[in-house]
Symmetry: C2
DNA sequence: AGGCGCTGTCAATGGCATTGACAGGCACGT
DNA sequence: ACGTGCCTGTCAATGCCATTGACAGCGCCT
């Protein structure tokens, strides 16, 4: 019995062995779920096929039966995250179509950011891709509608939407990329900055010297910086709305 | 003669062989130069040790004698690009300290963006790192000074600088990441969008339907979108300056 | 009962960063 | 002149990664 050809002996004994390592049945959904888990900071914060295989209790390459390549997987995941972001915004916003354009835009942007930051690893991977998810279409229509009702011409409202969303995604991904870094690199950066701001000769850089404390606070406090950018951007939108009303 | 121990036979024949593959002498500068070349779209747009080795005519691992790891190399490269950006801004701006804060900010942001976009591969790699390059200190002081003279309190001016720069870097890196993608992925994305915007039922999404042409134009025309964001942001800064003056 | 396709497994490939052992050469001191 | 030792390039090997092709079980349809 032991004399069987070693490589092929997967018929008898295998049945017993496979009692443990049962051939798991994967579905598109179970894979996406596991992948999402891996992308969160608690899940290790890295999405690779081997980790995914382990998480699923299956061979890493089994995933290829459901997604042509990693890119397709990432695209599908991004779609989920976008839906989640929209959902989050919906919950935060009042039901009826509000006329407070500023709140609407701010909540939308922050929701998108929040849902992406829950999976930094995915945010980094998804960086460049756009999904054109049907889920968001309705939200976009609403967003443009709010701006239009506020006084902006339709096309300008659309431009505003595009600008807001791209800015938000870009800054979010920027934050995500940093949060993925290992402690060492993060601390290295921080140390470099501290030194830089600490050693500014007051006579040569008077203003920088005075703002050093604040800038140090702001160092990689990306959420605050994002809030700053968003606020300023929205002030700019207000100006545009004013201009449009007068014209 | 042929009976020599194969692995060790590098003494005689090697002298002849090495006439071709002369032991190249690397310097920090020659490496940085070559790496920068590789990062540009013409240079292949990908920075790896093996490509770098080939570019230098040396063994890939020779680079480790000059940079501890890839991260350190990227940091050094980023420094160069930042300097280049500052230089570019200096050339574009009038010499004396101008009082046109808006032009100053716009030119600075665009210069940073331009110099980074000349090496998309590097922009992507550098994503998360900050260099605290001494080269930029003077520029920052000037930037804050311009805003301060315009009427902003020092700390708020510093916040503004931080916001503007982070926004610019984030959006630039976002663009760079897309430009790195292979044609297939880019076209795939574009097709998805075209379909999406082409098939919008007018009765359900009236506004989106009307703005579809503009949104299609804007699709991944990242430079225009950046211009939009920057403009709106600067409008917002103007508001803040007004507010500060009145107070 | 037979066949076919769906899906998991396994082994292999090629690219990547990184490491440790080795070796040539140059500068220094004697 | 002659060693000694560091600086720096080379080579082979490691380990992680995505991806592929050959194989095999299982269920469904006929």
């Amino acid at each position: 019995m032991e004399a069987r050809v070693a490589g092929q002996s997967t018929s008898r004994q295998a049945t017993a062995e496979q009692a443990n390592r049962r051939r798991v049945t994967l579905t598109r959904e179970s894979i996406l779920e596991a992948a999402l888990r891996l992308c969160s900071p608690e899940g290790g914060g890295q999405l690779t096929f081997s980790r995914l295989g382990k998480e699923l209790g299956a061979d890493p390459t089994a995933v290829y039966r459901h997604f042509r390549d990693k890119d397709e997987l990432v695209l599908a995941l991004t779609d989920l995250v976008i839906q989640e972001g929209i959902e989050l915004a919906r919950q935060t916003l009042p039901d009826g179509p509000s006329d407070d354009w500023r709140a609407f835009l701010a909540v939308t942007a922050r929701s998108v950011r929040t849902s992406h930051l829950a999976r930094p690893a995915l945010a980094v991977l998804a960086a460049a891709r756009t999904t054109a998810s049907p889920a968001e279409t309705h939200s976009v229509e609403q967003l443009i509608s709010v701006l239009h009702r506020a006084g902006l011409p339709v096309v300008e409202a659309a431009e505003c939407y595009r600008a807001l969303l791209d800015m938000t995604l870009a800054m979010t991904q920027y934050t995500a990329a940093f949060s993925i870094l290992d402690r060492q690199a993060q601390e290295q950066d921080e140390a470099a900055w501290a030194v830089k701001y600490g050693m500014l000769p007051e006579d040569e850089f008077p203003l920088l010297h005075r703002s050093a404390p604040r800038l140090t606070e702001l160092f990689r406090d990306d959420d605050t910086v994002f809030a700053l950018v968003l606020d300023t951007f929205l002030d700019g939108v207000a100006v545009r709305i004013e201009r449009a009303r007068k014209a």
